[in-house]
Structures are given as C-alpha cells and as structure tokens.
Amino acid sequence: MLRVENVTLNFEGLIAVNNVSLTVQANKISGLIGPNGAGKTTFFNRISGVYTPDKGSITFDGHRIDGKKPYQINKLGIARTYQVINLFKNMNLLENVMVGMHSNLHSNFFSSMFKTKVQRAEEKEALERAYDWLKFVNLEHKAKNLAGSLSYGEQRLLEIVRGLASNPKLILLDEPAAGMNSKEKEMLHDLLNKILEKKISILMIEHDMKLMMGVAEYIYVLNYGQKIAEGKPSEIQNNPKVIEAYLGGE
Amino acid sequence: MLIQVFISSLVIGSIYGLIALGYSLIYKASGVMSFAQGDMLTLGAFLGYTFYGLLGIPFFMSLILVMVVMFSFGFLLERGVINHIIKKNILQIYTILATIAVSYLIQNGSLMIWGGDTKYFPSLFQIKQIPMFSIKIQTEAFLCISVSLIGMFILHLFIKRTKLGTAMRAVALDRTAAKACGINVPMTIGITWGLSSSMAALAGILIGPVYGVYTTLGATIGRKGFASAVIGGYGNMVGAVVGGILLGIMETFTAAYVSSAYKDLIAYLALLLFLFIKPTGIFNEKALVD
C-alpha cells in the first residue's frame, strides 16, 4: 500500500535518512524502531510531505506522493500524529476532531457564509461523527472541554482520533505510547487493534518494545539514518545488528 | 551632479544604516521589532538642538551627551516596560503595540516640549563647504557620513572585541547558555536597547543640521529603516549598514533621475520585494523561530 524506495534526505551535508526502502502492507501494523536520532521522525516527515524530496520515491496506492504538500498527502489518505503533542489547545475536543475531518467536508466559502441547507446538514453530520470518534476512545464525556485541559495520555488519544477522523487508509503514529503509564498502554494496544478493524493500516514508531513486539507484524529498524534490519518481531529480537545498535548506542 | 547625488544618498544611507543597526541589535537580543526606533532619532535630534542650539554646549560634547542620555532612555525603557510585557508571555503583538505606544508618547511629548515648528541647528562650522572630488560638499553632509561610519566602526569593535560585546552576542545566540556562563542576561539586554537608542540618537543629531528638526522627523525614517534592515538581512550587523546605504542610493537616485514624488514609495516597495522574494536579505540571515 505504501512503498518507499531508496529515500535519502540530505540536510546541508548531514544525511539524515540514507537510502531507506520499506513497504507498508495494507490492514497490518508495521513498526519502525531504532535508537534516538536514527532518523525515524525525519522519515515520517518525509512521507507526510513536511520535507521535500532529495532522492528516491514514495508511492501510495499506486500514486507517487513525493513532492506533494502535507495537506495534499492527507487528502490522499495518509494521516499522522506527532512525537510532540500538536493539539489545538484552545479548541475543545469536538472542534479538534472536526478539524481532523476537514478533507472530508466539502462546504466552501459561500455555502458556509450563507449557511445553506446542504452546509447545515453537513455540519450536523460532522458533529455526530465527531462524537462517535470521541466515543471510540471513551472521551465523549469531555467533548466540550478544552483540549489543553486533558491529561497527557488523553491528549495522545485525542491526537490519534483526530488523525483517524479524516478516514485515512494509513495512519502514521509517532511514538503514541510516549509518556503513558502501563494501564494507558494496554488501552492503546486495544485501540490499535480497533483501528485495524476499521481497515486502517498503521505504520508506527515506538520505543516501547513490549508494545511494539505485541502488535506489529513486520518491523523495520533504522540506525544513523540507515535501514539495518527488517523482519517479523521474533527475527528482529534476535538480530545481532539490532541488539548492537541499541546497546552500543548507550 | 552625479557625485552630488551620490553624496546625498550616502548621507541618508548612513542614517538608515544607524537605525537598521538598532533594529538588528534589538531583534537579536529580545526577539522583537521595535517601532519606536525612529522616534529615538527624533528625540536625539531635539536633544541635540537643545544642547547645542539652545544651551550652547560645543557640538561634539552635545553629541556625546545626547548619546549618553538616550542610552539611558533606551535602557530604562527596556528594563522598565518592554521586559515586563515580554515576561507576561502573551501575544507578541502586544509588545509591538507597546513600542508603538512609546513612539506616540515620544512624538507628542516632543510636540509638547519643543512645539510644532521646525527647529534649525545654528551653523556648525565656519567653513560652509568642503571641496572634494571636484565638487563642494556641504559640511553637515560630510560630518554626517564620516561620524556615522566612525560610530558604526566603533560599535563593530565594541561588539567583536570587548567583553560586554561578546556577552551581547552570546545572549543573542542562546540566552540560556549565556546565563549558564554567568552572563547577566537582563543587564545585557538592557544595554543592547540602550545602544540601539543611542545609535538612533546619533543619527538624529547628525541629520538634524541637514534637514532641521521636527516631531515626525524620525517616524518616516524609522519606517523606511525597516527596509534597510530587511534588505541586508534582519539581525545582521553588516547587513544593516549595507542595506542602509543601498536604500539611500536607491531612494536618492530615484528622486533625482526618475521622479521625486514617489521617493518614499521606493523604500516600501523595496521592503515588500525583499520580504516576498528574499526575506533573509542579502546576507542570508535566518529569521528567529517563534
């Protein structure tokens, strides 16, 4: 579904991502791991259009997406979350989710300004769907609260749901479990499976090995911007290069 | 004729350079754009007129006096007002609005103190004109250009060679690291603003004898000074001076050879052009991240 081929990202001499290729299969969870600074988030930025192409190609569902702007890539069906929480803190939960739906809503300037019947119907439906998404993560009781007032774990969930609201085919999760306690991580584990049930594929960066090995079906390992291993979780766990990357890097 | 125009452009160009230096210093130190710089120039001009014209203090002493007074003014402004607003950590627009408020206060304070008519400096030198490059240059013009350049050079040495100057550069680069090195960051920032104000005041006392002094003298120069700073690269010292001179040349030559009506337009068009096409300016100065 997502095929990344020979992508290189060169920042004025610093090669952040070096000739990395990976494939994300549909309806599965694929993982991306590696020590800090390995270039994982940079890689995500490359896929989601934040960084522009240097070398290589990215193909999504048969279409080339390298060179496209982030909002265009979102419209094509890829959503993402961020390592640092990027919620709209001064909007409430519903509004945050409804922003996530932006690409799926079609009211334009004039229909919005004059509140046409079509626009009103669309808004009403969007509101209901937003509530449904909040229910998906058990946050509907806080629907009208400001996003900034949520606990850290809840904010992470909201961010995921905001990404899901655009009905993507693929969602890129950047360290979704960061800062969560073990109970929250269990809920995250269930959430990830629920997302799969909705036929949304996942590519996930994560440092929590237990979680990663528990959900991912296929894992890629980066170190110093290069792919050093790939394979099923069991293969990765026993791969000497991977072990060296993590231990040697300490 | 060409040389005459060129000399005029250097006069106004050096003034723009002094203002732009102030902008860049403040931006690097506090991360704000101060809309009161131009009025510091006005105040400097009025003070110069008062010291030299009214009180009869010898010119160069007046000049030094003005710079010292305005240094304190800028320092106190930053420590007393600007710092508090920035600390409140609210929208940046409020800081800009505060500098605009200060600008209004200076403009109207000057109006109240000195009145609305244009004040003229008594003649500075016996010699009216200096023969140079086969033409005669007005003494005031010569003074303006040379003292500005000397002032900029001294500032440059100060920033590069003295301990305080290095502290200023450190604070501009990384405030937290500077603090960790034991630099008194608040004082340093205050001093930076003080220096910017005295640079502007210097510009004022130099341009006063050429144009005469009135309450809105600095306001227009100040706004156009932004163009100089952007052209050279906002935050870049050398850029400020180069930008100033370039702007002076563009403006004066346009006025002389194309049309004097739209002279002021040039600065703003140049500003827009650079902002839209090359916002980092000639010397490629990266903008501060919010």
């Binding site: 001064n90 909007m91 919005s112 | 703003y268 902002l275």
Partner: protein
C-alpha cells in the same frame, strides 16, 4: 438556573439589546445630544472594519498592520467611481470592496509565507504604499492633500442625508456583516482559520491548504474593512489622506486588542471604548495623542487579552465557572 429559564433570559437580553439599539437615536435626541448619533454611526462602521481584522488576526492569527490600506481603497475607490463613472453610491461601495478583496488576495499570497514579525513589516509597507499613492495619485485623481468631496448614499433615490437615516442603514449593515462573520467562524472555514492560528504545521497535516485559507482570511478582512471605508467616506462626505495613514491601522488594531480578539462582544466594546476615549481626549487638546499613547501602554501592560475578556473572566470567576473556548 433551569435550562429553559437560561434560554428565556438570553432571548429577552437579545430582544432588549435590539430594542435599545433601535430607539437609541431617539434617546440621544431627547437628551439634546445628536452628536451621539454620529458617534454611533462611526462606531458601526468601525465595528465592521475591526470585525474584518478579527477574522484575519483574532481567528487566523495573521497580523495586519496595514488595514488602513483597505479602508482607503474602499473609501477612495467608491468616491472616485461615484464621481467619474456616475455609479450610485451603494453600488460603488460594493465594487470598491470587491476591488480591495482582489488586491488583498494578491498581496496575501506571497505574504502567507512570512512569519509573524516579517508579516507585520509587509503589511505596514503595504499600508504605506497605498498611503503614498493616495497622497500623490496619478493625475491627482484622489485630490491628494486637498481631499475629495462626495455624496451621501441613496437607496433607490431615498437619500440617507441625516445622521439618523445613516444610523439605521449602518445598523442593518452591521447586523448583516456580523451574522456573515459568525457563519464563517462557526463553519469548517472558521475551524481551519483557528487551526492555522494554533498550529499551522499540524493544520497542514490535517488536510488544510494553509496558503489558501490565509488568502481567504485576508480577502475577508479586506472586504469588511474596505466596505467600512466606503461607509466612512459617504458619512463624512469628505476624505483626505490623513485619515488613511499608519495611525489608522494602529487604531484598528488597538480597537481589536482593547476589546479582545475572537469575540463579538469584544469587538463592539473595543470600538466604542476607543471612540469614547478619543472624544474625551479631544478636549485635552495638545495632550490628546500623548494621553492616547499613555493609555495604550497602560492597557497593554494591564489588560492583555482585552478588557472585555478580562471582565468576562472576572464575572465567570465570581460564578465559579470555567473559561470559554471562544468569546
């Protein structure tokens, strides 16, 4: 308080305000203060202008220190078209506003790439360029510093030639503009604006074409401010460049910030407080602008966020409630 009672109270409150606004001129007349009606006319058009700025800055987070340029385009555009092309006033006002919108969108496109401080410089420069052009217009078409005389608006021959008549027209226009603004703000477009203000990178990642929406916000603010400029011109029937200098842009911003951004009540209160302040200070004569600057500084230091928000939060705190997401 029961929900139904709360609704009843809000409804009565709104009706009360509507009635008050409708009879206001009569109240002024009864107190022999017809000048108050004129102030309300100005208030109305400034509310429109500042609402435009609110959409751009309060909601979308884009600073504009050159709104006076649009005010000028609306004013001069309308008076020039009316005089030289014979177009009726209300039509010329709309055409000039559309013209301003187009210019605004053109400028907005490259401006959308600029970060905060540089955007403030660009908009200041834009304001100055327009100002210079109206001061020294080609062939003196704007009348330059001599100014330009013009007519009252007329609706199908009915001339709005008194302050009271203009007041009711202005009231209708304010209501229309504010309803349209509210519709935009509460829609997907408004959410996009706010998202851009809060975090434009995340907004981009959510499928929002940030550039397009920034241009849209500029366009809206241009239309609103230009229309208000047209109203100004045909109310005072004489315009000259001074009104459209940088000071005017600062005043719009001041009105917005005094009252508080992203809020209806804030805009209205900000406009009227500044207008009333200006009137009070007028009697201070020489000290007028000095006091104005001083007050400005005071408000920035004491009431950042605008004092409408300040008072609202204060009242809320007394009630023990939580802060609003939006005003």
């Amino acid at each position: 308080m029961k929900l139904l009672d709360k609704f009843k109270m809000e409804y009565i409150g709104k009706v009360g305000i509507a009635v008050f606004l409708l009879v206001l001129p009569l109240i002024f007349h009864a107190f022999n203060y017809d000048y108050g009606i004129l102030i309300c006319c100005f208030g109305a058009l400034y509310v429109i202008a500042v609402s435009g700025l609110d959409v751009l800055f309060g909601y979308c987070g884009q600073i504009s220190m050159g709104q006076a340029a649009f005010f000028a385009i609306g004013a001069y555009g309308s008076v020039i078209m009316h005089k030289y092309l014979g177009i009726p006033v209300l039509v010329s006002m709309i055409i000039s506003s559309i013209l301003a919108t187009i210019i605004g969108c053109i400028i907005a496109y490259p401006a959308s790439k600029l970060v905060f401080h540089f955007l403030s410089l660009a908009t200041t420069a834009f304001g100055e360029v327009v100002y210079q052009l109206i001061c020294q217009s080609p062939k003196g078409i704007t009348g330059n510093f001599t100014g330009f005389f013009t007519d009252y608006p007329s609706i199908f021959g009915y001339k709005l030639n008194t302050n009271i008549k203009f007041y009711y027209y202005a009231l209708i226009m304010v209501v229309i503009f504010l309803i349209l603004k509210s519709n935009i703000i509460k829609s997907r477009i408004g959410r996009a604006f706010i998202a851009i203000r809060e975090n434009s990178h995340a907004a981009n990642g959510m499928g929002i074409n940030v550039t397009k929406f920034k241009v849209m916000a500029f366009g809206i603010s241009a239309f609103y401010t230009a229309y208000a400029g047209g109203m100004y011109a045909h109310l005072t029937r004489f315009i000259s460049p001074e009104t459209f200098a940088n000071k005017q842009s600062v005043m719009f911003l001041t009105m917005l910030l005094f009252g508080g951004t992203a809020s209806l009540g804030g805009t209205v209160s900000g406009v009227f407080v500044v207008l009333i302040l200006n009137e009070i200070l007028r009697s201070a004569g020489r000290y007028q602008l000095f006091a104005y600057g001083g007050l400005l500084l005071l408000v920035v230091v004491i009431f950042p966020g605008g004092f409408y928000r300040f008072i609202k939060d204060f009242i809320n705190k007394q009630k023990g409630g939580t802060k609003d997401a939006e005003g």
